[in-house]
Symmetry: C2
Subunit: 220 residues, 2 copies
């Protein structure tokens, strides 16, 4: 009862009475049947954190719980362990990444070469603007220490989409799958190297991508 009163006063003042530690305020508990809301909030917080830093030092189960404003144990209500949470984040990242690339291709019209070109630019743009996200998606087992095996095929749609568009370009005189791997490799390498060596005097990005795409795809 005393606690209720304190809480009301706290709410009236716009803050809870005894929280002064700088972390997110204790979040209100969900309504009955609405329990999955916390799952979303955890996923949101984890995505935000992994997207920002690429997971290095600050990411941990406890850190996610702090960010959400919830007890560390509450994570276990929705994810079996940390690896499962990270896998969920990766899956979400890849879905978003795929949508961004598809939207870029869509905006480029019907001509398959232009679509591939747009896709390539979007790939690098996304990677450069979201290095944490990119790192989380691709650094995989090596960097995340996440031993979830199912990551193996995450991101295959990215490849499939570009392979199909390349196959639609006539007179290439080469295996579209090979060319798709070339392009994927080149775009991925561009992002990886540039984020790893930000101070190197790289050529202007758009020009490099255009030149790479042209060289990889032109007929002999």
């Amino acid at each position: 009862m005393l606690r209720d009163l304190e809480a009301q006063i706290g709410d009236a003042v716009g803050q809870s009475a005894d929280v002064e530690d700088g972390s997110a305020a204790r979040r209100p508990r969900a309504r009955r049947g609405d329990g999955d809301r916390l799952r979303d909030e955890i996923l949101d917080a984890a995505s935000r954190m992994l997207g920002a830093t690429g997971a290095v030092g600050e990411f941990s189960l406890r850190a996610v719980a702090r960010e959400v404003g919830v007890a560390a144990t509450s994570i276990y209500l929705h994810f079996r362990n940390l690896d499962e949470l990270v896998l969920a984040v990766k899956t979400r990242f890849f879905a978003e990444f795929g949508e961004v690339l598809d939207a870029a291709a869509q905006a480029a019209g019907e001509e398959p070469l232009q679509r591939v070109r747009a896709r390539s630019h979007a790939y690098v743009k996304y990677g450069m603007e979201n290095p944490g996200t990119f790192h989380t998606m691709f650094a995989g087992e090596m960097a995340t220490a996440s031993r979830v095996p199912s990551v193996t095929y995450l991101g295959v749609e990215v490849f499939e989409a570009v392979r199909e568009e390349i196959a639609a370009i006539t007179e290439l005189g080469a295996d579209p799958a090979m060319l798709a791997v070339h392009l994927w490799t080149a775009m991925h390498g561009t992002v990886a190297l540039r984020t790893a060596r930000p101070n190197f005097p790289w050529p202007e990005t758009a020009q490099e991508i255009d030149d790479l795409v042209t060289r990889v795809l032109r007929a002999p």
Copy 2:
């Protein structure tokens, strides 16, 4: 005295008497003026560990000390902190990497295109065979949590060497620096993607590299 006796017995039997915990046996202390020997041993152990795993879970100052068979505090006799040790390892890795690439170019003869080709194959081969080393060299600040800034230009020789060889190829009709970046990017991406997605149906490596080099370097 009793300890000396025990040690002698231990040596005679081929193991030290009271060490049974599975870690490396306590190493003998260096002779007077020979103190830098420990520095080398620490560097060796750290290189071995980072080269094997790419640093993820198992690497730590204390783990290095255990591997060497020395008290954790002894590391501080030779390195100011963990970051400095990691930087020393990276520097060593890049020196070795550069030598491997140079040797490959050397073995390919005088023809610059063949040298570039050999360099490219060696780049990918080294990366695929030493994923931990590769990751340590390039994942940099993002994955290692090492905030040493001087890493920025580590590996520039790798670029410089290939740029010069490309410049020596006549009738390219393009900026050699741009082409060198293309190749570096492509080889780097090949290693990065293949180690990140080992189960993807990649084309045969040598063939892909040859095709990539040809496409990137051929005149219009």
